[in-house]
Symmetry: C2
Subunit: 159 residues, 2 copies
DNA sequence: GAATGCATACTCGGATACGCCGTGTCCGAGTAATTAAGG
DNA sequence: CCTTAATTACTCGGACACGGCGTATCCGAGTATGCATTC
């Protein structure tokens, strides 16, 4: 899995603690974890295309959440970065086997494919069950200073 | 995910229908689905290293299952090909963040990492719950001719 | 006829290239804030 | 003092290189087989 998923999840989580109507530039989000600015920007663009973030250019511009944190699941973020295709891609090798027919969709019929799909669905179900709001509250409960620290860090000038 | 997983699963399933003590060469296994012989051989070697198959060189040699099909889970095959690392690899970017400590293992502490790990465990649990024997019986129930066809195909000369 | 040694053909196994996607970087188009000028 | 228009600086967005891993292939080491030879 791409490394951008980790960056995107942490960045979205940080944006959760922003006061409404405020935006954070890619440079500030990158400085938070000492990440390469331009590459993080690329990932954030994917989140914008997925409708998770909105971007505003110009001074005082940047990124903010497009939806309330309760409406953004972890799966949404993962799919925005990694794409919607499942990890196991059935190439339908049964077609080339004995008795293989070209008019059959072996992605549905092949029992191996079905087994892998079941696992993939379980994975997606687990990720879809957690939202950014869940993560936020969990972090706040364990590290109560995080919201204030994050806001302060975003307000401070770029060293 | 690597394409070799599909090849390995189907090949192991085919080996399931072999009579005990018999081996099939990589060339025959590859011809079954018109796969590149040398590359499939590479995947089969990984299965041997994982203890799923045993290989015997020389004439009448080849590959066979090292364990009964009930003792080989789909997860075993996937891990043999893909490796044991989980899909989401936590790079511990929290270390570079504000208040990050170098002596903390953020793979255990980070809540994002935990969420991804939960999903990964669900995926693995689903794959570990199905064995080659389960797949074999499911195929036999839906396509009763498969065992005989497979054995015949393996016995016939390489066209 | 049986045993033995040898030549043979077949098998796996690892070492060796090619190509694609993830990683990383850069510069330009566009916009909002700022400032200065004018009424 | 208020309005307005040009300037400016800052932002995102897409286009451009580099490297690592999956993909694919080949050839050599090793072995069980089959055969020829000998007793």
């Amino acid at each position: 899995m791409s490394e951008g998923v980790e960056w995107a999840l942490h960045s979205c989580l940080n944006l959760t603690w922003l006061e409404p109507g405020q935006a954070v530039s890619a440079a500030r989000l990158a400085a938070f974890y000492r990440l390469p600015t331009a590459y993080l920007n690329k990932q954030l663009q994917a989140l914008v295309r997925a409708g998770i973030l909105t971007s505003t250019p110009g001074p005082r511009g940047g990124f903010r959440l497009a939806r309330p944190p309760e409406a953004v699941s972890v799966l949404d973020v993962v799919v925005a970065i990694e794409g919607a295709e499942e990890a196991f891609r059935c190439e339908q090798i049964l077609r080339a086997g004995p008795g293989g027919r070209a008019d059959v969709d072996y992605r549905q019929v092949c029992l191996v494919s079905q087994a892998m799909r079941r696992a993939d669905l379980a994975w997606r179900r687990e990720l879809a069950g957690q939202t950014l709001a869940d993560l936020r509250t969990a972090v706040e409960q364990r590290y109560p200073d995080t919201p204030a620290n994050t806001r302060e860090r975003f307000a401070a000038p770029l060293s």
